[in-house]
């Protein structure tokens, strides 16, 4: 056998393997895509008589903790059923997908997100609208520890190191810096995960957090949390917003109104009873998360401060005043996203809901925070 013939046959086999490899890649890709495109929500008829909207899916913005207490109440108390749904499937989110993708691709009819993610998606051509909001102000903040390096003002931030999760939070963080005239030269940013262990062990000075979550975890670990809220420092945009496609607004308006009625009832109950919110999260919906009852009750109580304001007591939960909408557009501009109110928001549905059901407007105690 000559050496050249030997090597050539080797090469041919390898060439075949190479092709096989590419094929396998494509196959893996297609099965991934298949997983993405399966299961579309069923929609019922909206003809007269008893409404039947079938089962719809709601993409949550995070794991099943008290952040979705209103949805647990709506399920448990039968508000979804009363509104004409066979059921509402709550899809948890570990932070790796965005509600925008899920709603655009039709795996969920409604998603919970934030304008900081929705506005860029719309700019890239996603046919989405924000129709209501649970939180009147966003809960994003920097958590630092009094025992280590307390950071309570933007001025304290200079020269410090901040741990931020890559992805959506990174985008918000960069917006916060821009809104406050800071750059990455003033504040050192390092990538981190959702655990606050690196903060507690002094690896960095502040941790990108949710006001209602990590500060309470830090308290549990025996530290005194110091927070710097983004909503009070140049970035007042809403969060836990309800997003749907334009197609759903155009063709399933009744369904959306029925859904929002159930959500309002659920959240009214949830705001009134933080302890029961925590019980649902701990013992049923978030059971596999091994949540702590006391900690979840504190979170639920803190969360009320984001949901209930003088405006919501006057206009109803989930509503957005024109001032609030303008603030959102300004915040987004500060983050480098140019958009307009009518591209991002469609508040006509929630307004109609309250016009048709004025008794849903309940005055709730405004928490002092």
């Amino acid at each position: 056998m000559t050496s050249s013939a030997f090597t050539r046959s080797q090469l041919d086999r390898r060439g075949f393997l190479r092709l096989g490899g590419a094929g396998a890649l494509a196959l893996a890709g297609s099965s991934f895509l298949a997983a993405c495109s399966s299961s579309s929500p069923s929609s019922g008829s909206s003809s007269g008589g008893k409404k039947d909207y079938g089962t719809i899916a709601l993409q949550l913005s995070w794991i099943k903790n008290i952040e979705f207490a209103g949805e647990y109440f709506a399920t448990e108390k039968g508000y979804y059923k009363d509104a004409g749904f066979s059921g509402v499937t709550l899809i948890a989110n570990s932070g790796s997908t965005t509600a925008e993708d899920v709603v655009v691709s039709g795996q969920a009819l409604v998603g919970l997100s934030s304008p900081s993610a929705t506005a860029p998606a719309i700019a890239k051509g996603a046919p989405l609208k924000t129709i209501a909001t649970t939180y009147q102000k966003n809960p994003f903040c920097l958590l630092s520890l009094k025992e280590k390096t307390p950071i309570s003002t933007v001025d304290d931030l200079k020269g410090k190191t901040v741990g931020v999760q890559s992805g959506a939070n990174q985008v918000i963080w960069e917006g916060f810096l821009k809104a406050n005239g800071l750059s990455t030269d003033d504040v050192k940013t390092v990538a981190t995960q959702y655990s606050i262990t690196p903060l507690e062990s002094g690896k960095y000075d502040a941790h990108f957090s949710y006001l209602t979550n990590e500060p309470i975890l830090a308290t549990q670990d025996g530290y005194t949390p110091v927070t710097l809220g983004f909503a009070d420092n140049g970035l007042p945009f809403v969060a836990e917003t309800y997003i749907v496609t334009q197609d759903t607004i155009d063709n399933k308006r009744d369904l959306l109104k029925a859904f929002l009625v159930a959500e309002i009832k659920g959240w009214t109950d949830a705001v009134k009873d933080p302890a029961q919110s925590a019980t649902y999260a701990v013992t049923k919906y978030g059971k596999d998360q091994k949540l702590d009852q006391t900690e979840q009750t504190s979170e639920a109580t803190a969360q009320n401060g984001l949901i209930v304001t003088a405006d919501t007591n006057k206009n109803g939960l989930f509503t957005l005043t024109q001032d609030l909408i303008d603030e959102n557009i300004k915040s987004l501009a500060a983050m480098g996203v140019t958009t307009t109110a009518d591209k991002l928001f469609d508040t006509s549905i929630i307004d109609e809901v309250y016009k048709e059901n004025p008794d849903l407007i309940v005055s709730l105690p405004v928490p002092s925070a």
Binding site: T2, R18, A26, C36, D101, G106, G167, Q193
Partner: protein
């Protein structure tokens, strides 16, 4: 010379053919599965992202996109090289130690395999606390991905030396080290290169994992940022970049393999 040229030609053609088939299957999958065009981008969209200016976004030209992605690519290749060198170096040293002192292999090989199963994602906070988030961690993450397949293959290679060849060296008074140099290393070379072909794409995976978990740099972080900004054309282009780079590096590895084995492999000089 003519032979070498023809071989390079065949290789280039093979890569081109595999890319065309890859592109066709990609397009076919998107069409057949009815993937939403907002999320699922086609090969043509990737082409547009890289080479056609979008009139909708005048401040983001195709040239900007190319410059951005190539910038990220070099960073990722740097991290991949770090992990590759660390992983290959460590596994060669450990495999030689295993071969020279067999009991050590029996003691540590199972533990090494156990370490392999620890998910890096879950370990990320611990790795961050221990090694920080700099070059050491890049080498560590890339190394872990590269190290184990290489170690197993090399250990197998060193073990499969011919008894007669060892006897011959021994008869002439050669030491274990001489056996290693004259017999074991040439015997293990095909195993070494086989695992090298796993290690090259593995190092890139490791680099991207490191960048995603610990930094805001390179393609690993870039793909996460692109996703959170709903920049799907960029996301798919990054996937194409990684695929093409992996195929090219894999091909280079096979060419090096053929050349080295022809000169120093176990069948070298055999006609």
């Amino acid at each position: 010379m003519a032979y070498a040229l023809r071989r390079i030609g065949v290789t280039v053609l093979t890569i081109a053919a595999s890319l065309v088939i890859f592109g066709l299957l990609w397009q076919l999958a998107l069409t057949l599965m009815h993937v939403n065009s907002y999320v699922g981008k086609t090969p043509l969209d990737v082409w547009d992202y890289l080479f056609v200016d979008n009139p909708m976004t005048p401040d983001q030209t195709a040239a900007d996109n190319r410059a951005h992605l190539f910038g990220l690519l070099w960073v990722t290749l740097g991290h991949a090289a770090l992990g590759f060198v660390f992983g290959v170096g460590a596994s060669v040293v450990v495999a030689i130690v295993f071969a020279l002192a067999r009991p050590i292999e029996f003691m540590f090989m199972p533990i090494a395999m156990l370490l392999r199963t620890v998910p890096l994602l879950a370990m990320a906070p611990v790795i961050y606390l221990v090694f920080g988030n700099g070059a050491v961690t890049a080498a560590f993450i890339g190394g872990v991905v590269v190290f184990f397949p290489l170690l197993v293959n090399l250990a197998l290679g060193f073990r499969s030396v011919g008894a007669q060849a060892v006897d011959l060296v021994r008869v002439y008074g050669g030491s274990s080290w001489t056996v290693m140099r004259k017999v074991a290393i040439p015997t293990a070379l095909p195993h070494f290169f086989a695992s090298m072909r796993i290690a090259v794409p593995g190092a890139i995976t490791g680099a991207m994992l490191y960048e995603w978990l610990f930094t805001f740099q390179g393609l690993g972080a870039g793909i996460v940022t692109a996703k959170s900004q709903s920049d799907y054309p960029q996301l798919w282009t990054i996937v194409v970049f990684i695929t093409v780079v992996s195929i090219v590096l894999y091909t280079i590895a096979t060419i090096v393999e053929a050349a080295v084995l022809a000169k120093w492999g176990p069948d070298a000089g055999r006609r």
